[in-house]
């Protein structure tokens, strides 16, 4: 009888999370690496790749957070200055505590960073959800606020980390585990956790639903305010993690720390295949996106034929081409 007939005829669902959007960024990544190699063989040298990928860690980690915010239909322009602010707070705290607690000041400082980051994100979230302000404007505002705070804390100068702590802390950026630089391991870990939350837990579904259609989400008993606020809180926490890896790199927070990171972050997310209007998020794509950006910058320096004046332009062109490749090789 018809029911049986039709339902047996149905072909099973392909495992849904391997569409083009998921491989696209990686294809682009590989293409880029090949081009890079042709331009300058040093490009694929272990040290160079290690350096580049390690550098991309900050953006990657922050962008993973941004994947939540954007997937839930939000946007966060404040991440760059938030990173600077958190770095500043953390260093000040560690320096203060170094005297009494010695090395213990470092883990303590890390905790502080996480807490501050979480709170900053929460603030952003509440302004956007409770305050019902366009995310773009709200976070543009907080961006200014964080930037001002770090400038104020540092008198416009820089907040260097205490000499006594520097060497103990240094490994967090420069150290390696089984030959792999720590920041890479950390960012992979962050991405792994994120993809679990996004693809294997309730919250992830809620995020995507809120981003895709607020009404449907509401009618399914999902609280838009809660979901989106949490997304911002996650973003804040990711920024904190990035800040923690960042401190040992230059050992100081300055008013210029993290300038324009927000643009790189959003670019990474979009290159990664997550739509700015919200919906399903692509964590691993985002990570690939972050690496791609850093590789392009690296390529600019390693190749000789780009006038220093034109670097920005060529980068722009490459990004656009990368996107086009993604689109049309579909």
């Amino acid at each position: 009888m018809t029911i049986m007939a039709s339902s047996t005829a149905i072909r099973p669902e392909r495992e849904w999370n391997i569409g083009w959007t998921d491989v696209g960024p990686f294809v682009a990544l590989i293409v880029l690496m090949l081009i890079g190699f042709l331009i300058n063989p040093d490009f694929l040298s272990a040290t160079n790749l290690a350096n580049v990928i390690t550098r991309s860690a900050f953006i990657a980690i922050i962008a993973v957070g941004a994947t939540f915010v954007i997937s839930s239909g939000g946007l966060d322009l404040s991440v760059g200055s938030m990173a600077a602010f958190i770095t500043g707070i953390t260093i000040l705290f560690m320096n203060r505590m170094a005297a009494e607690w010695g090395m213990m000041a470092i883990p303590a400082g890390m905790m502080v960073a996480i807490v501050v980051g979480f709170l900053c994100g929460l603030m952003n979230g509440l302004i956007v959800t409770i305050g019902r302000i366009e995310p773009f404007i709200a976070t543009l505002g907080t961006m200014g606020i964080f930037r001002a705070l770090i400038t104020y804390m540092s008198d416009g100068g820089s907040i260097p980390i205490d000499r006594s702590l520097r060497d103990a802390y240094r490994p967090v950026y420069f150290g390696t585990l089984a030959g792999i630089p720590l920041p890479i391991i950390i960012s992979v870990a962050v991405a792994a956790v994120a993809s679990f939350i996004l693809y294997k837990m309730k919250y992830g579904r809620k995020c995507a639903a809120v981003g895709a259609n607020e009404d449907v989400a509401r009618y399914s008993g999902i609280s838009i305010i809660k979901t989106r606020t949490i997304a911002y809180a996650i973003q804040g926490t990711c920024v904190a993690v990035a800040a923690i890896c960042y401190v040992p790199r230059l050992g100081a927070a300055t008013p210029t720390t993290g300038v324009l990171w927000e643009l790189q972050v959003i670019t990474a997310v979009v290159i990664g295949g997550t739509a700015l209007r919200g919906g399903k998020g692509h964590v691993w794509g985002t990570v690939a996106g972050a690496v791609i950006l850093e590789l392009i910058a690296n390529l600019m320096v390693l190749s000789d034929f780009v006038s220093e004046y034109l670097v920005a332009g060529v980068q722009g062109v490459i990004i656009i081409i990368a996107m086009l490749i993604q689109r049309f090789s579909k």
Binding site: I10, E13, W16, M201, R205, G221, I222
Partner: protein
């Protein structure tokens, strides 16, 4: 079976006998495939002027696809179209429109951020000396809408008007110019009483003016009243074209389904309803409903009748915590916080929205995530979701509600209208509520599945659940419910039950103030 087969052959109109010369639009062996999925195969059809031609078929039979194809929204993968005998190809809807073909879509396609008038004239604004002529457009809009009995202000944002009103606006779009071929894809699905009557009158008017009308509906009574010819589709194939008058509704049903059908409405249980399940007191939804109080009991089916705009939907949206509302509700004696939708759902009240596309389903999402969205809690034993469990749930739902799909990979938006409705029903019942509120349960559902859904609702109350049915189809309410509450202008006007449950009484309460609030059947 045999009786059906015989009908299929004998009842059919002999096309050869039909004079082909004045057929204005002819589809010649058209087929449509999506990837490897064949949705429509080798359909041939002649459309004659001054004739109302109904297309009927089960959910997913391919009706909407066929109509989109005739009006240039999609192109056939095989076959041709001929306009007045000349071969034509519609690459874009405009081309079809220029050829005088208008389609009223099954799903509502209006820009919510724009006003009613702006939507009406979108893409063909009237100009006066180089400037959009708003005054005239507003006038025309008001007139056209009034003809359809829709009184929303043309300046209202579409976002702020009810579904029914939106549908009327959409219909008005197709009536603005005088098209030679007007296609209605389930225009009455979201309409009730008066609107339907008005629309049918208008369609007959079109016929008089010599236009050809294609009419799709699952409300076979309408088909019977209107259709000169009836063409039946089944699984994308044309079964045949039959003279409208001679077919009874049962014949149509048989032809659609390809087998004999049991009675539409299940036998009503005689045993009295149990003790109170849900109690609502003085519930008010500002702007929509005032001081509504009622009770629904265990194993009872309670109906809510009323004209469009009576505020039934808003009343229950209020109860579900989806709109600001005041008042108290108790489930089995326990008060429920109606501030948060989640709380109400968890308490065990399920609500199926009347707006499946806007508020029910994530159209760009796969089926499983849609199905489980409001019941995620039960799909992660630990902290992680179990994809496998979801897939099982989906398979079960597809079986149970006979959701017709060609592949589990499709997105919800790619399901046919009726099948979307079934998926939504499955989604709501997945939280196993003890009180189920269904707003327009069979909107866009074909007759065979209507029977299934009614039987299913019976099953629910048989398990001791309570069920509330909001519907604009009175027969549905009367056939299904134990009691019917009637709303008008946001207030409860009365209750009918038992013998008193007649269309006449319900209509009386729903419309006229004269029936000084419900001396028909005991009023509360």
């Amino acid at each position: 079976m045999s009786s059906v087969l015989r009908m299929e052959r004998e009842g059919e109109i002999d096309m050869a006998a039909e004079p082909l010369r004045h057929s204005i639009l002819r589809a010649e062996g058209v087929s449509k495939q999506y990837g490897s999925v064949t949705v429509l195969s080798d359909v041939t059809l002649d459309i004659l002027p001054g004739e109302i031609h109904a297309i009927i078929g089960e959910n997913g039979a391919g009706k909407s696809t066929f109509m989109r194809l005739l009006s240039g929204y999609i192109e056939p993968t095989a076959g041709t179209l001929a306009l007045n005998g000349e071969h034509v190809r519609f690459a874009k809807p405009e081309q079809a429109q220029d050829a005088g073909i208008a389609l009223v879509h099954q799903e509502i396609l209006l820009a919510e951020a724009l006003t009613v008038a702006e939507n009406l004239f979108l893409g063909r604004e009237l100009m006066r000396n180089g400037v959009v002529d708003d005054r005239t457009m507003l006038r025309l809009a008001t007139e056209k809408l009034a003809e359809l009995g829709c009184l929303v202000s043309p300046n209202a944002l579409v976002r702020n008007i009810a579904l029914a009103d939106r549908q009327l606006v959409q219909i008005a779009r197709a009536l603005l110019d005088d098209y030679r071929i007007v296609i209605f894809d389930e225009p009455t699905a979201v309409l009730a009483g008066d609107e339907v009557e008005r629309l049918l009158a208008i369609i007959l008017q079109l016929k008089k003016q010599g236009a050809a009308v294609l009419y799709i509906s699952h409300r076979l009574d309408e088909v019977q009243r209107l259709a000169d010819k009836v063409t039946v589709l089944r699984d994308g194939k044309k079964i045949g074209t039959y003279p409208g008058r001679t077919l009874t509704q049962m014949d149509m049903a048989r032809l659609m389904v390809g087998r004999d059908l049991a009675a539409l409405y299940p036998e009503k249980r005689t045993k009295a309803a149990g003790e109170a399940m849900l109690t609502v007191r003085d519930l008010s939804v500002p702007g929509f409903a005032k001081n509504v109080s009622f009770q629904v009991h265990k194993s009872e089916i309670l109906g809510f009748a009323g004209m469009i705009g009576a505020g039934r939907t808003e009343l229950f949206e209020g109860i579900m915590g989806l709109r600001p509302a005041t008042g108290t509700i108790e489930l089995e004696g326990k008060p429920i916080n109606i501030r948060s939708p989640r709380a109400v759902l968890d308490a065990g009240i399920g609500y199926l929205t009347e707006d499946r596309k806007g508020k029910g389903l994530l159209l760009h999402e796969r089926l499983a995530p849609n199905l489980t969205l409001s019941a995620l809690a039960r799909f992660h034993p630990g902290i992680f979701l179990r994809r496998s469990r979801e897939q099982d749930a989906l398979r079960a739902a597809v079986e149970q509600y006979d959701i017709r799909l060609k592949s589990f990979g499709v997105k919800a938006g790619q399901l046919s209208g009726g099948n979307q409705q079934k998926l939504l029903l499955a989604k709501v019942l997945l939280i196993t509520p003890s009180v189920v509120v269904i707003d327009e349960p069979t909107r866009g559902i074909d007759i065979a599945n209507k029977a299934q859904i009614y039987a299913f609702i019976q099953g629910l109350v048989a398990e001791g659940k309570a069920c509330i049915v909001i519907s604009s189809e009175m027969q549905e309410l009367i056939g299904l419910c134990d009691r019917i509450l009637v709303m008008r202008q946001g207030r409860l006007r009365g209750e009918v039950s038992g013998e008193a449950m007649t269309e006449h009484n319900v209509a009386l309460l729903a419309t006229s103030d004269a029936a000084a609030d419900g001396n028909v059947g005991g009023t509360k």
